[in-house]
Amino acid sequence: MSDSILELENLRKNFGGVVAVSDLSLKIRRGTVSSLIGPNGAGKTTIFNLVTGFLSPSSGQIYFAGRRLNKIKPHMTASVGIGRTFQNVQIFSNMSVLENIMVGRHLRSRAGIFYSSFFPPFLRKEENTIREDAEKQLTFLGLDQYADVPAGSLPLGNQRMLEIARALALEPKLLLLDEPASGLNARETIAMGGLIEKIKNMNITVLLVEHDMELVMDISDHVAVVNFGRLIAEGTPIEVQENPDVITAYLGE
């Protein structure tokens, strides 16, 4: 039980008559990098949305660190320790890079609406702490020089980095990355792999959905293959690559 941080038990999601996720059971071990792969439309992002509360399951259970997560609101999954990024980057483009990360410190700070409105920022100690923490995160990702740049003007590779930095500012126990390398060039993809390795070393469990097989096989401890909402194979990268069902799913009969 304590070995796995996330457990899905017979998870099912129907959209009308379409079954997006079908009786799927999966365990993600603490402290690992796991990948969820499968053809387009296999239900990978739906699984992410179920875990983070953006969708609620039609049936089945989700346990996070031993706690049941059914019918939980998205903002509450953040407070139990799940951070996530999105397939199409969702940064706050109207705010600066540093401010984006400062939003990530939301749950690690307390100031309410009254306190915030009566005291100017320089009199609020917490405000400085938030800023310093965010700056540390920025340094960690090597985005220092962009601190005051509007986030929307960053190149896509850096926007993806920023999205991860923002999720890391939450200090999550589990980080869900939805296609972190999509749209990145070869060099940026290698950098992304290095970053995921670093995150793993920070004792954060990583679960990612990704189509770049080289990256997946390179960094994953565990790979789960989904097709038509069903788990068709799982294991180490090598085991999965040799699995005939997986080859069929990707290449056809």
Partner: protein, 337 residues
């Protein structure tokens, strides 16, 4: 950015102090007092529209509730004006909460619909509930506001007081924006999904900022009642709500100064039009006050076409362009990100 805001704030305070010395005319000072009321309501509305991305077409109703609560409690029950104003705020908080909870739980612009309906209801109540509001004939003999035992009797005194309140409103708004809560609101505007994935309770934040913006409107209404000493339903129709939204949009949604500038420009426009109508008469054009609406529409159209981000951004951008032009002339590279 922050330095720029504090510089603007200081300039604003100086302008408030100096203006009554330049304009020595009670009528124009009075016009500027009304401008202050609009400014106050617009600052609140700007927090809601520009920072939380929600539209309220019912802020005129909150102005009306503030005004009527103050009027009824002071003239009929002889309450202290300050206490009546606080009571108005309390009522508005409760009402905004009741409207906000159902309307803001939904994605999309349901708040606009709910508030539009609410604005018409309040106007009808003001006209029809004769025992309470005096109906179309309104409420008379509302006392003037006193400050530390001194009644604000002259227009100039009221000018300083109401613009002081506006300055305080700006101060609060800026503090809020540069805080955890303000960033949360901007995040919601940027992407609701991302904001909630970071632990921000979207509904709660939207409701809170809606309530805060309603409080701004209520205070503005109370101050209005204490200034004119007589209120009737006339000024509190749905057009007031739309005018407030227009002011914020014209000035610039995404900046507090935008709301302030928008409120000032549109509040002073009728005065300006009646001023130039005298000159138009000389060259043979007979200008009727009815044409005001036409000019309003034209101005709105031009601003939305050429300055979609509002007057404030337009001025800000123009200053930036001039600056970089001179830097280029001086042979120095312009620093623009």
């Amino acid at each position: 950015m922050k330095g720029k805001n504090s510089a603007g704030f200081i300039a604003f305070i100086i302008a408030i102090i100096v203006i009554p010395f330049i304009i020595n005319n009670d009528y124009y000072i009075g016009v500027l007092v009304f401008t202050a009321f609009n400014c106050l309501a617009c600052i609140g509305l700007c927090l809601l529209m520009g920072y939380a991305g929600q539209i309220s077409i019912g802020h005129g109703a909150f102005v009306a509730i503030g005004a009527y609560t103050s009027a009824i409690l002071t003239s009929k029950l002889a309450w202290s004006p300050w206490l009546a104003m606080l009571c108005g705020i309390a009522i508005v908080v409760v009402i905004a909460f009741c409207i906000g909870i159902p309307a803001l739980r939904l994605k999309g612009h349901y708040l606009a619909m709910a508030t539009l309906g609410f604005a018409s209801i309040i106007h009808i109540v003001a006209v029809a509930a004769v025992d309470l509001t005096g109906g179309p004939s309104g409420i008379v003999s509302i006392p003037r506001l006193g400050l530390f035992g001194h009644v604000l009797s002259s227009d100039t005194q009221y000018f300083y007081f109401s613009w002081g309140v506006v300055a305080f409103g700006i101060y609060i708004a800026f503090n809020l924006i540069n805080s955890r809560v303000g960033r949360g609101l901007q995040a919601i505007h940027g992407s609701e999904d991302a904001a909630s994935s970071l632990g921000i309770n979207i509904t709660s934040y939207k409701v809170k900022v809606f309530i805060l913006s309603a409080v701004y409107a209520s205070v503005s209404g109370s101050l209005y009642a204490y200034y004119v000493n007589y209120i009737d339903p006339g000024p509190f129709d749905v057009m007031l709500s739309i005018l407030l939204v227009t002011m914020v949009a014209v000035g610039g949604l995404h900046h507090i100064w935008g709301a302030v500038i928008g409120a000032i420009v549109l509040s002073l426009l009728p005065e300006f039009l009646s001023f130039i109508s005298g000159y138009l008469q000389v060259i043979g054009i007979k200008y009727q006050p009815d044409y005001d609406t036409l000019v309003y529409g034209g101005i709105l159209l031009i601003i939305m076409l050429f300055l979609p981000e509002g007057i404030f951004k337009g001025i800000d951008g123009a200053i930036g362009n001039v600056k970089s032009f001179f830097l280029k002339v001086a042979g120095r590279p312009s620093r623009r990100v």
